[in-house]
């Protein structure tokens, strides 16, 4: 069940902050059509925006494009955000993944580093591939009227705590 994608939507936008909102609008339109709840749509918007913002901030030296692929299944949506820019050391980043440590003095807080953690918290399954550029694959299940349940797949590729 739900093994074959029903629909595929693709988008390519310049890796500029001003286009992240456009992607967010499109994703919210798709999720709305699929039947996600208001809260799930908001979660999807944030996760996709975080992935796109990472491309804007980290992928390219001289500008490039953000690729967004969206597979709609019967019971889930899978969104791939990819770039052709530089890769990064996943295990280094994974080690630092987590929420803010409230026991630390304010002076030591970092202003960044919450993006991947949020993606991992808001989506059901997250995978990051980074051979040429970075591709982050994010899945969120459709919970129809709380009737259909699913096992929350714990991501193999990130170790952040689920909220």
């Amino acid at each position: 069940m739900g093994n074959e994608a029903l629909d595929y939507i693709e988008m390519k936008v310049p890796a500029k902050a001003e286009y992240v909102g456009v992607v967010r609008l499109a994703v919210s339109g798709i999720a709305n059509r699929v039947g996600y709840s208001y809260d799930d749509i908001e979660d999807l918007k944030i996760a996709v925006a975080e992935a796109c913002t990472n491309v804007v901030n980290h992928a390219y030296q001289e500008g490039g494009m953000i690729g967004i692929g969206c597979n709609v299944y019967k019971d889930k949506i899978e969104i791939v955000v990819s770039d052709k820019g530089q890769s990064f050391n996943l295990s280094d980043v994974k080690r630092k993944l987590g929420p803010i440590d409230g026991t630390k003095p304010v002076e030591e807080l970092k202003e960044g580093g919450l993006g991947l953690f949020l993606i991992d918290s808001l989506m059901d399954h997250v995978e990051i591939n980074g051979e040429a550029g970075v591709a982050i694959v994010m899945t969120k299940f459709l919970k129809r009227d709380e009737v259909e349940h699913h096992v929350d797949e714990i991501s193999a590729s990130t170790n952040a705590q689920k909220q």
Partner: protein, 110 residues
């Protein structure tokens, strides 16, 4: 899709009203208004987020930066008017444990 920002000086404190979507594109606008406010020695700043319907990590980062700046200038910063979505993001990220969030202040801020 720009932010809607308005500043108000009360007797004992300043209020920054923010409306719109705080993301990577709009966060610089927020930073530009908020950061200078935290640099006034001893000031009390109330940020009213009633009009904010979207925030992501870039926006949260602005508040972390403001908090650090406030700390080093002996000013204080407090947030109010967060809707449940926005509040949820502050709590998922643990930011609600380092920054003052007071929803009771909502009435005062009007």
């Amino acid at each position: 899709m720009d932010l809607d920002i308005r500043k108000e000086n009360k007797k004992d404190f300043s209020i920054l009203y923010v409306g719109g979507e705080i993301d990577a594109y709009t966060a610089p606008q927020l930073k530009e208004e908020l950061l200078p406010m935290t640099e006034n020695e001893g000031d009390k700043i109330l940020v009213d987020l009633k009009g904010v319907d979207y925030i992501d990590s870039t926006g949260l980062g602005i508040f972390i930066g403001a908090l650090k700046s406030a700390k080093s200038h002996n000013s204080t910063i407090e947030l109010t008017g967060l809707n449940s979505r926005v509040k949820r993001l502050f709590s998922i990220t643990g930011l609600d444990e380092v920054i003052n969030i007071d929803n009771e202040k909502r009435e005062e801020a009007k």
